[in-house]
């Protein structure tokens, strides 16, 4: 069990990505790093924005970093950001990320045509996040 958001959670998430055949297949030609921004919600135990980074390459996560600076994170090819509680909904599969983006609840920065071509891989990343045994910081 890992606390979300935390570096331990990120490590387990990366392990899930790297052991998933479905993701490997769906993202076999994907090349690009992603920064995830968990926006602060001080009343829920997330006092500051947290930036994490994952280098996704041909169906695997080659590298990841936790709590990178915004300057470092901004260099990623894609940036997905949302308040902590929205991410919690995504991880619990209560919020479909595509629907969330259309509702403006999740913000994506990066080449949208690329994301559109890899919707299956994106969905698989969400499925894998939901499989990480998670304890949420506001429910401790």
């Amino acid at each position: 069990m890992a606390l979300f958001p935390s570096e331990d959670w990120m490590k387990l998430y990366v392990e899930k990505i790297n052991s998933s055949k479905d993701y490997e297949e769906a993202a076999s030609t994907w090349e690009g790093d992603i920064a995830y921004v968990f926006e602060a919600e001080p009343d829920k135990g997330v006092p500051n924005d947290v930036w994490s980074w994952a280098d996704l390459w041909h169906g695997k996560c080659r590298d990841s970093k936790w709590d990178v600076t915004p300057e470092e994170g901004e260099k990623a090819k894609f940036i997905i950001r949302a308040p902590y509680s929205r991410w919690k909904e995504v991880i619990r599969k209560e919020l479909d990320p595509v629907k969330g983006m259309m509702q403006g609840k999740l913000k994506l920065k990066g080449d949208l045509p690329t994301i559109v071509r890899y919707v299956k891989a994106s969905n698989e990343l969400v499925n894998l996040a939901s499989q990480v045994p998670t304890e949420f910081v506001d429910e401790q």
């Binding site: 479909d96 595509v98 629907k99 983006m101 259309m102 509702q103 403006g104 609840k105 994506l108 080449d111 949208l112 045509p113 690329t114 559109v116 071509r117 919707v119």
Partner: protein
């Protein structure tokens, strides 16, 4: 030249469609020609997300509005996932290519009325241009 203009209030779906068209024209400059000699309005509704936007082809530009038109020439009504699929489906002559699995999926959704396109018969060119402009493949 800026081919896409947006309502300052747009967010979510409207911002995504505007970004998609901007990126497609940047990657394929020849697609700017799809804005020529065509005019008309389109409403796009993602029912499950509860959002709707208005799109307009006018004066060689693609305008995106935060709210749908009272009456639009075309109306595309479906769920958010299918809207994404529509932008990723291979096209043949500007229509979903039913020789591909993705094209057949779109066709099935139309038959089941999970995807409704009102005004397609009256405005075939408008629909054709929109599909080609939004296509990410």
């Amino acid at each position: 030249m800026e081919y896409v203009t947006t309502d300052p209030e747009i967010d979510g779906l409207g911002a995504m469609l505007a970004d998609l068209v901007r990126a497609n024209i940047a990657a394929h400059p020849e697609r700017a020609k799809l804005l020529e000699n065509v005019s008309g309005t389109i409403n796009v509704k993602a029912i499950d997300a509860g959002v709707a936007v208005g799109l307009e082809f006018a004066a060689n530009r693609f305008n995106v509005f935060a709210k749908p038109f009272r009456r639009a020439g075309l109306e595309i009504i479906t769920d958010s996932g299918t809207l994404m699929e529509l932008t990723a489906v291979p096209l043949w002559k500007g229509q979903p290519d039913v020789r591909t699995p993705e094209g057949r999926t779109v066709l099935r959704k139309m038959v089941r009325r999970d995807l409704r396109i009102k005004g397609a018969v009256a405005h075939p060119m408008l629909l054709n241009r929109l599909q080609r402009l939004l296509s990410a493949v």
